[in-house]
């Protein structure tokens, strides 16, 4: 297919797409005037029903908990696929594209390693406060993984792979992914629906509140943090000196 044919096809497709987009936007309610009713219903009942203050978290990990399970497994499968592709590639190719190791000042390396535990604790703080303030397992996990990225940037490959041992990370990733399903199955075992909230809800506004919402947030944090660090580790092995 030449560039000309390709562009002609694009032009032929973009015109009807434009017409449909204009039609669709014309049918939406004006910006700033949310028509409801789902958001209003959830906002009205979530704090009383589930004892969490962040309603988006209640939707994610309770009312729509089954969808989030799928979301977590998209992450799990992506990381597994990434590992498969890159490891197979390294084994058959042998030679890697090396960018060489950059010289770093000792102070930069030391600071990056001092900051790592601080960032990990902050990520955990974000995850456990998911029901109270903006945050949750996904955000907390991403913050924890960023600490490991900083350790690589400051201290280089040997330190990164020494801290983030892939065998240990893989165990924790599997634990995080399994814990979500186990919580869902535990509800079944008690005669409730899959992923129904069965744990004590706790006082509204307390750190430990929301029942399974709190527990699932921690499982997701574990899965996201380790999954991202594993992906990072596999990509960094590609440019290892």
């Amino acid at each position: 297919m030449t560039d000309r044919v390709r562009f002609a096809l694009f032009a032929a497709g973009i015109v009807p797409l434009g017409v449909f987009l204009v039609w669709a936007v014309a049918g939406l309610s004006p910006f700033g005037y949310y028509p409801g009713p789902y958001g209003d219903v959830v906002n009205a009942i979530a704090t009383a029903q589930r004892h969490v203050l962040n309603v988006a978290t209640a939707v994610n990990f309770d009312y729509r908990g089954f969808d989030t399970l799928g979301e977590e497994y998209i992450l799990f499968t992506s990381v597994a696929g990434l590992i498969l592709i890159l490891r197979e590639r390294r084994q058959t190719q042998g030679k890697r594209t090396s960018l060489g190791e950059t010289e770093r000042a000792d102070g930069v390396g030391a600071l990056s390693l001092v900051l790592l535990p601080v960032i990990v604790v902050f990520g955990m703080y974000m995850a456990v406060h998911g029901g109270l303030t903006p945050g949750g397992g996904f955000q907390g996990g991403a913050i924890i993984a960023s600490g490991f990225l900083l350790a690589y940037l400051g201290s280089g490959h040997p330190a990164f792979h020494a801290i983030g041992k892939i065998e240990i990370l893989e165990v924790f990733e599997s634990l995080g992914a399994a814990a979500y399903v186990v919580i869902g199955l535990a509800a079944l075992g008690l005669g409730l629906s899959f992923l129904q909230n069965f744990m004590p809800l706790g006082g509204r506004g307390n750190l430990v509140s929301g029942g399974t919402i709190w527990a699932i947030n921690i499982a997701v944090m574990l899965e996201v943090a380790t999954g991202l660090v594993i992906a990072l580790s596999e990509f960094l092995k590609e440019i290892e000196p």
Binding site: R6, Y34, G39, L53, A56, V79, L82, I85, R89, G227
Partner: protein, 116 residues
């Protein structure tokens, strides 16, 4: 005009990403175009749930439940969207490395004879 501006912006981001995807000669650039297209869905979802003079759907002692808030369902959907986008991007980038190994190029025009 202000009533539809965010929807128009979402459509514009989507089309710009699509244009880049169609005309690109570099697979890494194509992955980034895909990511631009996906960003349009964040803008669209959050715009649909937005309500004038309403706060975030997070309550506290100062903002008691019952205060006007925007749609939390759209916020939850956007969160899902971002997570899926980031992980799929990592996977597609790994596939790009595989294409480069098999064909020695990341130009999609030259990489058509990929096999195995």
């Amino acid at each position: 005009m202000m009533h539809v501006a965010p929807y128009v912006i979402a459509a514009w981001i989507f089309v710009v990403g699509l244009y880049g995807l169609v005309t690109t000669r570099n697979l890494i650039h194509a992955v980034l175009c895909l990511s631009v297209m996906q960003s349009s869905t964040y803008v669209l979802l959050l715009s649909i749930g937005f309500r004038r003079n309403a706060g975030a759907p997070i309550f506290s002692v100062d903002v008691p439940p019952g205060t006007p808030a925007v749609d939390p369902v759209m916020h939850a959907l956007t969160l899902t969207d971002i997570v899926v986008g980031a992980t799929v991007m990592a996977l597609v980038l790994a596939l790009t490395m595989q294409v480069h190994r098999k064909t020695g190029s990341i130009d999609p025009h030259k990489a058509r004879s990929i096999s195995g």
